[in-house]
Every structure is written in structure tokens, then in C-alpha cells.
């Protein structure tokens, strides 16, 4: 593709593909100075689904220049999760009793209600460190390691990326690879896939860790960032993701229902643990356009993703930063997402029918549409730091699957919408 020739204004050529590889590669040139300032960015987010999951997350990120062109960056993050989470079972006309994943206690769900495990609770701590350096005037190399730990999950990984500028930095090509090795150690141990949920509680020995399974995730990312003009740039990424190992959710179950024609159709005859395939491959193409309109900035992106679990998805997202004055801005945010169901998604199983190879009733694998509507307010302080406050409304709706309510389930909502409110406070600047 010839970009050396100056083309007449108004004539647009085709735009190139791919993107900068790793998010932590700086796009701009490092600013040298007599002292080395530390760029810090931090934010805390609260997420709340009424009567369901509550999450508090915080991230602290810092980046500094060690010497000309070489940067060191680090990040700490924490999550705290509490509340109730759907366990995958269907609602029923009578009280249902479920055994908690630990096996040590049970909980009840009222008639007609979507079964939620209200003992859902976890804490997560994550850390990452990265380093980037120039290989020559136009090429940058970055490496990093990351890890996170939760009560029932451990993840360790590494990443490497390279980017190269062309045509006086009007074009940047990037490639990156990331590998993560995870260990899933659920409370109560790894359940037998399609095994019946225990009907009685057990007492776990203190030294009984319950066992665990491994999971490996490999990511490859390639892309181009292209300056379109003095006020615009575009980036297009291709992302490949391959996960293998234990991909099942050890806490999710499916209801087995008596079939049509039986004495009590639609009533629960068993609760089984779910089973997912042991590998998943995903391809995604992501395009983002960033355009300055005077002092304001519009950011529009689109992503198409598909995986071999049968899911295809599309995401469209728009952020528009409107400056009210040089030190204040409002930024509305709109996101629209639609996905098709995984081919092993089943709202329930039918008693007596042939058991499929894999099955999950996790609604996050169903046909689903989500929308986000948010507003961020930003303020630059006297010292040049930016404070931002954002509120967003997130809704998951049009959740559906092939299975419908029948028999005893008639009139019950098998696919309820889920809504959430998020609030975020952020601070960024140089120290």
C-alpha cells in the first residue's frame, strides 16, 4: 500500500488492517525530562445487580520512564464479590432446596423464583508488571507478567509484544502474544460433570482442599493503527484466543424436568452439574475510530467475535467527550451488544432424553442482548490531575434459548432480564 504520495484532500483511500499489539504499549513518544514523573491512573468501581451480585473493584496503575524510551509499568487490582448469583436451575412451582458448592449447607428458593445461590462471595487480587524498550528508532518491544489469586482460582501469565512505526509514525503495526495458566480449585472440589447435586450436606475436613483442574489460555493479537488526518486515527485488531483444560463452571447446575406426557410434566426430577467442552477457540475483529471535533473527542468502535462454541457476537460502542470548559467535560457512553447462544446451551434437560455431550444453563451463554447507557463527568484540578465520576446502567435482555416453559413451568419466566447500576470514580495524572 503506497502512502508516500500526497493525495488530494477529499479523496480517501482504503484503510489498513490490524492494531497495536499490547494495550500497555505507549502510542505517543515518551517525554524526557530532568526528573522522571510517574503517571498514575486509579479508579474504583461499584457494580450492583438488585437482589443479585454486588461487586467492588479497584485498580491502581503506574508508569514511569526509566531512561530515554524505556518504561516500567505496574498495576494492582482487587475485586470483592458478594450477593446472589443464578445457579442455572429452572424455577419451579414448589420450594426448591439446593446444596451449596461447599457441600456444607443448603439454601431454599421460593416457588416461582429464579434459583439464586445467595452464598456467593469471593475476593480477588491481581498484579501485573511490564517493561517496554525501543529496539531501534521505530520499533518497540514490551514484555510483562501478570497474576491473580482468588479463593478458588489462581492465574499466572506472561505477555510479549512488538510494534513498529512506519511513514513518520502515521502507521503502526503491532503483534502480541499472551499465555496464561490458570488453576481452578472450587469449594467442595471439582464436581463430576452431569453428576447429581448432593441431596445431603457433608462436613469437610480442614485439610481437604477438594482438588482442582488446570486451564491454559493463549492469545494472539495483531493490528494496525493508522493516522487518517490531523484529527483522526483508526485502529483495527485481529484477536485470536484459545482456551483449553477445565472450562466448566463448577458451581452451575441444570434442572432435569419430567417430560410432556408424564404424570407431572415440567416438575424437577434431578439437578445435574453442568459440562462444557475442554477447549474454546475465538476469533475477533475490532475496529475503532477516534476523531477530534475541535476540543471534543468522539470514539466509535465495533467488534465482531465468533467462537467454536457456536457463539457469534457484535458490539458497537460510542463515547463522546464534550468539553463544557477547558477543565470540565461530560462524556456520554452508549454500548450495544448482541450474542447468539452457545450450541450446548440448554435452559433445562428432559428426563429420559439422551444426555448431550455438553450442556450448560448459564444464561451468559444464551441468546442475549445487552445495552449500556452511561455518563461520565470529568474535572481537571489546579495541579493538572483529572478526576472523573461515571454512572452507568447496564441491562441484559432478550435472553432466550430453545427451551420454553411447559407443564408445571407454564407462566414462569425462564429467561428474566438482568439489570445493573455501576458507579466509578477515577483519578489520573503525573506525580
Amino acid at each position: 500500500m503506497q502512502l508516500k504520495d500526497v493525495r488530494p484532500r477529499g479523496r480517501c483511500t482504503r484503510f489498513a488492517l490490524a492494531t497495536a499489539a499490547v494495550a500497555l504499549l505507549g502510542n505517543g513518544d515518551a517525554q524526557a525530562g530532568d526528573h522522571r514523573p510517574v503517571e498514575v491512573e486509579t479508579a474504583v468501581l461499584g457494580y450492583s445487580e438488585p437482589d443479585r451480585v454486588q461487586v467492588l473493584e479497584g485498580v491502581l496503575s503506574a508508569k514511569t520512564e526509566l531512561e530515554e524510551g524505556r518504561h516500567l509499568y505496574g498495576q494492582l487490582a482487587f475485586d470483592v464479590l458478594t450477593g446472589a448469583s443464578a445457579n442455572g436451575a429452572s424455577p419451579a412451582r414448589s420450594v426448591q432446596t439446593f446444596t451449596r458448592p461447599s457441600g456444607e449447607s443448603r439454601y431454599q428458593v421460593a416457588p416461582g423464583q429464579t434459583p439464586l445461590d445467595d452464598g456467593f462471595s469471593d475476593k480477588r487480587l491481581a498484579a501485573s508488571v511490564g517493561y517496554d524498550m525501543p529496539l531501534d528508532r521505530w520499533t518497540n518491544l514490551s514484555v510483562g507478567v501478570q497474576g491473580s489469586t482468588e479463593t478458588d482460582y489462581l492465574s499466572l501469565g506472561t505477555n510479549i509484544g512488538i510494534s513498529r512505526d512506519f511513514f513518520q509514525r502515521n502507521t503502526t503495526l503491532g503483534l502480541g502474544i499472551s499465555v496464561n495458566r490458570d488453576r481452578v480449585s472450587p469449594l467442595g472440589g471439582i464436581p463430576v460433570e452431569f453428576g447429581s447435586m448432593p441431596r445431603t450436606t457433608t462436613v469437610r475436613l480442614d485439610d481437604d482442599e477438594g482438588g482442582g483442574e488446570n486451564k491454559t489460555v493463549f492469545d494472539f493479537n495483531a493490528g494496525i493503527t493508522q493516522v487518517l488526518g490531523k484529527n483522526s486515527l483508526v485502529r483495527i485488531n485481529y484477536a485470536f484466543d484459545h482456551a483449553s483444560g477445565y472450562l466448566t463452571d463448577p458451581y452451575n447446575v441444570l434442572s432435569v424436568l419430567a417430560p410432556v406426557g408424564s404424570i407431572a410434566p415440567g416438575t424437577v426430577s434431578d439437578i445435574l452439574h453442568e459440562s462444557r467442552p475442554t477447549s474454546r477457540t475465538q476469533h475477533a475483529v475490532y475496529a475503532e475510530l477516534k476523531r477530534a471535533l475541535g476540543a471534543n473527542v468522539a470514539d466509535l468502535s465495533y467488534r465482531y467475535a465468533t467462537n467454536d462454541w457456536g457463539t457469534q457476537s457484535q458490539t458497537v460502542e460510542l463515547r463522546y467527550r464534550q468539553f463544557l470548559s477547558p477543565n470540565y467535560y461530560l462524556q456520554p457512553h452508549v454500548r450495544y451488544y448482541q450474542q447468539s447462544a452457545a450450541n450446548f446451551y440448554h435452559r433445562y434437560l428432559i428426563e429420559g432424553a439422551l444426555l448431550p455431550s455438553n450442556a450448560s444453563a448459564d444464561y451468559r451463554l444464551a441468546d442475549m442482548t445487552t445495552s449500556t447507557l452511561g455518563l461520565e463527568f470529568g474535572h481537571r484540578t489546579v495541579s493538572g490531575k483529572w478526576i472523573s465520576v461515571a454512572v452507568e446502567y447496564y441491562r441484559q435482555f432478550s435472553i432466550s434459548g430453545a427451551e420454553v416453559a411447559f407443564g408445571a413451568l407454564d407462566g414462569l419466566d425462564l429467561y428474566p432480564d438482568v439489570s445493573a447500576l455501576t458507579a466509578r470514580v477515577g483519578l489520573s495524572g503525573e506525580w
Binding site: 484532500r9 487490582a77 475485586d79 493516522v227
Partner: protein, 84 residues
């Protein structure tokens, strides 16, 4: 909605979105003339940097990763979690 109709709807929506995105780029697009270093004042602004507000984007992406069946594409890093 039957599955084949849904797939067709997904493809039609993707075509519409791509056409809309392309139109916006083409209509507002300037030529791919090289932007010289001294002309990059606007592009050098923090809010014009891709992944500015990286922490905010990462927090958002983590929420979507734990609530939806597909994730990623913008960038990667940060490792896994048991939330999906």
C-alpha cells in the same frame, strides 16, 4: 426467534453497522496524506491517545467479560479470573 433467522439477523445487523462505520469514516475522512510531526498537536493530546483512560476501559471490560460470552479484541493483558 428460530436460530437460522437469528443468524441472518446478526449478519444483516453487522452489514448495517459496517456500512454506517464506513460511511462515517469516508464522509469525515481526510486523505491519507502523511501528517508531519509538527502537525500532530491534536493527535498528541492525551484524550486522543488510544486506550487513554485505560484503567476505566479495563474495569468496564472486566464487567463485560464476566457477564457476556465473548470478550477481548481491544487489547489483552491482566490475566484470568474465575468470574466467567
Amino acid at each position: 426467534m428460530p436460530r437460522p433467522d437469528r443468524i441472518r439477523w446478526v449478519r444483516q445487523l453487522s452489514l448495517i453497522v459496517l456500512l454506517a462505520l464506513s460511511s462515517w469514516v469516508l464522509v469525515g475522512c481526510v486523505s491519507l496524506a502523511r501528517v508531519e510531526p509538527w502537525e500532530r498537536g491534536t493527535l498528541a493530546r492525551t484524550d486522543m491517545t488510544l486506550d487513554s483512560e485505560g484503567v476505566d476501559l479495563e474495569l468496564d471490560d472486566h464487567i463485560y467479560f464476566s457477564r457476556e460470552a465473548t470478550a477481548g479484541g481491544r487489547s489483552f493483558g491482566g490475566g484470568g479470573c474465575g468470574c466467567n
